[in-house]
């Protein structure tokens, strides 16, 4: 599209050179004079109350500046969840925490803090603080926390912090019309983001007496609001600066360290304080993907028609509400988005427990609900003896379906095309036939598929605003200023391509910035919900069109031609009737800066509020080999196919798909935080938390069903999170196809698979 064709090309990401040289500065890389170091005193129980602290020995440690107890800091209740603020009180996130607390709700809760002149002194002091607790019963599962005699984890609220029911039709009647009802229980695991850079922030008082927080955050503007609410100052008193970020994946969509580090600096007369979490802290005490239990039923007729879906959801929130019910409560819409059915019932509860607080994680609840849906769908296909791809094809929602649950007309919805393309390019039929040779013996092979639908941004459930500013520089380049957040995904590069495309200049003419700064950059809610290329894309497009119009108006006056006859092509002002180059962009820019009579610099600003969304979709096909003696699942081949509209930058898009697939393969096969019955995390390090390494992943194949989405700013729709949705259920279905056992708990680790094989051999488990 356009004349420039920058969009759709694999432009080199602007920050790549700095990153390969080790020159890119992350939060921990900036020098600060007189920097102090903060450390968090963490509870060694999961549920109870601190009765007393003895800090006498800790205070004697040389270099200790302050020891902070909960009473020493502001007592404002706030939520760490990085949602846009809402003026509707009942929609606001649950404010259930203070910066530090005596009331312990999770193991490792923030019960105090030390500030010292060195990190070592802070650690030594922490070790000398003696804490006595009153202990309460620990609830690891929602079922324990929902028991009649269970104690409230938060005094002011029931442990079931939210519940909801959505759907349509008469589920009981539709189920009665089915030939078979497939009802299963499923449980997902506690996955952790494991971004390579741990949470880190530095806070200090600036010359204007306000507070600056340099932080590795996905949501600078929202983070500013959360800090202000937590420490109790008006919002403009806080400035957040985000430098390069070493990954986020949703974990840095919660303000986990920022309120505390600002409060620490406030307690030290504005001296800069750094709060950097260790890997062990980051895995265990920040946020996780919600572990969710499903009771999921599908009613199906012998001809493959789905009559009803009935889904009961119990989401394990952990100790604090964070993003809360937004995750467990979300699935119904997206079940309705992908398959036809007469009736749907989706009931959900989100429940406080004493494990780590769950929050946003890449794909925000979709990996869980799609694991449940695609497991039971697959088992339904088996039940009626249909090919699993054919079964999905016949039940898929057609392009243009109106989804009444979200009030979204699903224009350009191509899940069927994805399944067809996947069947062909993965060589599904050939591989399936070949796998039949491996259904006995020690090594057994099988194939599985899973499909999904996916929203773009959060409309109509939440606010979708973004802004962009463009400044024409004297040499004809443009400074692009954005409040959106580059977190490694390549958003900055994609958005720069969009600006170049819409103005009519080469990609190299757009200049970005490693910082997002709430004082300087336009308001944008940040990096989540695969929203930026869409919502911020509209803002970039609007600012680019505005600045282009201003440039053309000036050029028309300078060269005495009508504006409609000229255009900007490849950085030049072209007289369109004969293609003559009237001027370079630099000529116009220099005149705009320095012409004595008419000099006036050219800038443009946009602020958009996007009242639409577009649904993406896709699928995964997987082939596995299961070792019957060890339970080890070897992934032989795997392919993702995505319907994400126009691909803005193929190289970056491929990188998103591969990274997302890897994360979901880990979800399917190896990852999960384990807890003792006392609520203590057992594997919060990179040795015991099984993050995939180079040795654990097969070739990651992928394809796009590329379209020009009629609604997207540049034909694009969501992509960043989508690849993380369907690999895990496809692997689960492939394992079932290989060994005849449907395993409904994640991950399918050797231990889990082995135990299922053993149970089946003893006759404990019924085959699906």
């Amino acid at each position: 599209m356009g004349t420039n064709e920058v969009v759709g090309h694999s432009e080199q990401r602007w920050d790549a050179i700095a990153k390969v040289k080790g020159q890119a500065q992350f939060t921990g890389d900036f020098p600060f004079k007189n920097l102090l170091y903060g450390k968090i005193l963490r509870s060694t129980i999961a549920h109870g109350r601190v009765e007393s602290y003895d800090i006498s020995e800790a205070e004697k440690v040389p270099g200790v500046v302050k020891i902070l107890l909960p009473e020493d800091l502001p007592q404002n209740k706030y939520s760490t969840a990085g949602h846009p603020w809402t003026l509707i009180p009942e929609k606001q996130d649950i404010r259930d925490r203070t910066i530090l607390t005596r009331d312990v709700r999770v193991y490792g809760d923030d019960i105090g803090a030390v500030i010292a002149k060195s990190e070592l002194a802070a650690i030594k002091a922490l070790e000398k603080i003696k804490v006595t607790y009153k202990e309460y019963p620990v609830y690891i599962t929602p079922q324990q926390a929902m028991a009649d005699d269970a104690r409230r984890i938060h005094e002011e609220r029931d442990n079931v912090l939210a519940s909801s029911k959505v759907g349509f039709g008469d589920v009981d009647k539709s189920m009665a019309e089915a030939d078979y009802i497939i009802r299963e229980n499923l449980s997902t695991s506690v996955q952790q983001h494991v971004h390579m850079e741990n949470q880190i922030a530095v806070a200090y008082q600036d010359a204007d007496q306000r507070w600056t927080c340099v932080s590795s955050t996905q949501i600078p503007h929202i983070c500013r609001r959360i800090i202000a609410q937590a420490v109790g100052v008006s919002w403009s008193k806080i400035r957040v600066k985000k430098p390069f970020i070493g990954g986020g994946f949703g974990n840095k969509q919660d303000a986990v360290v920022e309120p505390l580090v600002v409060a620490m600096s406030m307690a030290c007369n504005g001296q800069p304080v750094q709060l950097a979490l260790t890997r062990e802290e980051s895995i265990a005490y920040t946020r996780t993907r919600h572990a969710i239990d499903y009771n999921f039923a599908i009613g199906v007729k012998k001809d493959g028609t789905i009559t009803a879906i009935d889904c009961d959801v119990i989401s394990n929130q952990g100790g604090y509400a964070s993003h809360g019910h937004a995750i467990g409560g979300k699935g119904g819409t997206f079940i309705n988005a992908i398959y036809k059915m007469d009736s749907l019932r989706y009931t959900a509860k989100t429940v406080y427990t004493n494990i780590a607080t769950a929050g946003a994680m890449r794909a925000y609840g979709m990996p869980q609900v799609v694991f449940a849906l695609e497991t039971v769908m697959d088992d339904a296909a088996d039940k009626i003896g249909m090919d699993p791809i054919d079964f999905r094809m016949m039940n898929r929602r057609p392009d243009g379906f109106y989804n009444a649950m979200s009030n979204v007309k699903q224009i350009n919805f191509k899940v069927g095309e994805c399944l067809e393309k996947g069947r062909k390019e993965f060589e599904w039929d050939k591989k399936m036939a070949a796998s039949k040779q491996y259904k006995t013996g020690v090594k057994r092979r099988g194939l599985g598929v899973a499909a999904f639908s996916f929203g773009t941004a959060v409309y109509p459930f939440g606010l979708e605003v973004a802004g962009a500013r463009l400044i024409l520089m004297p040499d004809g380049c443009f400074k692009l200023m954005l409040g959106s957040t580059e977190i490694g995904q390549g958003a900055d590069t994609a958005l720069s391509q969009m600006a170049a495309e819409a103005i009519g200049v080469p990609f190299k003419n757009i200049i970005r910035d490693s910082f997002t700064d709430t004082d300087i950059d336009p308001y944008d809610t940040g990096a989540y919900a695969s929203r930026q290329s869409y919502v911020t894309g509209f803002a970039v497009k609007e600012a680019a069109e505005k600045i282009k119009a201003k440039i053309l108006t000036r050029a028309a006056k300078m060269y005495d031609v009508r504006t409609e006859y000229i255009d900007i092509i490849d950085g030049n002002i072209i007289y369109m009737p004969d293609g003559e180059r009237l001027a370079t962009l630099e000529d116009i820019a220099m005149s705009s800066y320095f012409d004595m009579k008419d000099g006036k610099t050219i800038t443009a600003y946009s602020s958009v509020n996007i009242h639409q969304t577009t649904y993406a979709s896709g699928c995964t096909l997987a082939e596995v080999e299961v070792d019957m003696e060890t339970g080890r699942v070897k992934l032989l081949s795997i392919m993702n196919v995505h319907d994400s509209g126009k691909i803005i930058n193929p190289l970056i898009a491929n990188g998103q798909v591969e990274g997302g697939m890897a994360m979901s393969i880990g979800y399917g096969l190896s990852e999960g935080i384990r807890y003792s019955k006392e609520g203590r995390p057992l594997n919060n390090n990179l040795l015991d938390y099984k993050l995939p390494t180079t040795m654990d992943l097969p070739k990651l194949e992928h394809a796009f069903v590329e379209t020009d989405d009629p609604l997207g700013p540049f034909g694009n729709k969501s992509l960043g999170e989508n690849p993380t949705v369907s690999p895990a259920p496809a692997i689960r279905n492939a394992v079932k196809n290989a060994i005849g056992i449907g395993i409904n708990t994640l991950p399918l680790s050797p231990e889990n698979v082995y135990e299922h094989i053993q149970a089946q051999q003893k006759g404990d488990v019924q085959n699906v």
């Binding site: 790549a16 050179i17 390969v20 080790g22 390494t693 992943l697």
Partner: protein, 155 residues
């Protein structure tokens, strides 16, 4: 306790009076302001802090600074040529699209550079094994392995 050490850092002879408790990573970042190496785990699991010590890739977070006395250290800053141009391994990482957040990349390039020197014609499986001590959460490693293959081709 402070100990005086002498070593070669990115081709230059240097001395440092260093606290004997410091890790090599801490010394490089704090005393020499070389911030390219990152701390991802502090216990030798993730590889983000990799440096070359006498042409061997090492996790600098679990290597004491005083142990480099008399040795030769190359950091990511020393991989970039002295005229500021990129080494072909760095260029390959860019061209293959291996860079996302970039936090693991200096360590990946350190490990890859040394590996290619020792094994100039590696198979894909050998590359996988060579980089198994460097973790990345963004890429799924595919383009990182592509980058090493590309670096071999463009050497």
């Amino acid at each position: 306790m402070i100990q005086e050490i002498e070593f070669t850092l990115n081709g230059e002879a240097v001395t440092c009076a260093v606290d004997v408790r410091k890790s090599l990573l801490e010394m490089l970042r704090e005393d020499f302001s070389l911030i390219g190496m990152k701390e991802g785990c502090s216990v030798g699991e993730c590889g983000a802090c990799s440096v070359l010590i006498d042409e061997q890739a090492v996790d600098s977070c679990i290597y004491l600074a005083v142990w480099v006395d008399g040795k030769s250290i190359t950091t990511i800053e020393g991989i970039t040529h002295t005229d500021g141009s990129l080494d072909n391994v760095q260029q390959a990482f860019i061209d293959a699209g291996a860079v996302q957040c970039g936090f693991c990349i200096p360590g990946m390039i350190i490990s890859s550079s040394q590996f290619i020197k020792e094994n100039p014609q590696p198979s894909r499986d050998e590359i996988r094994r060579a980089l198994s001590g460097n973790m990345c959460r963004c890429t799924g490693y595919q383009k990182i392995i592509d980058a090493v293959e590309l670096a071999v081709e463009t050497k």
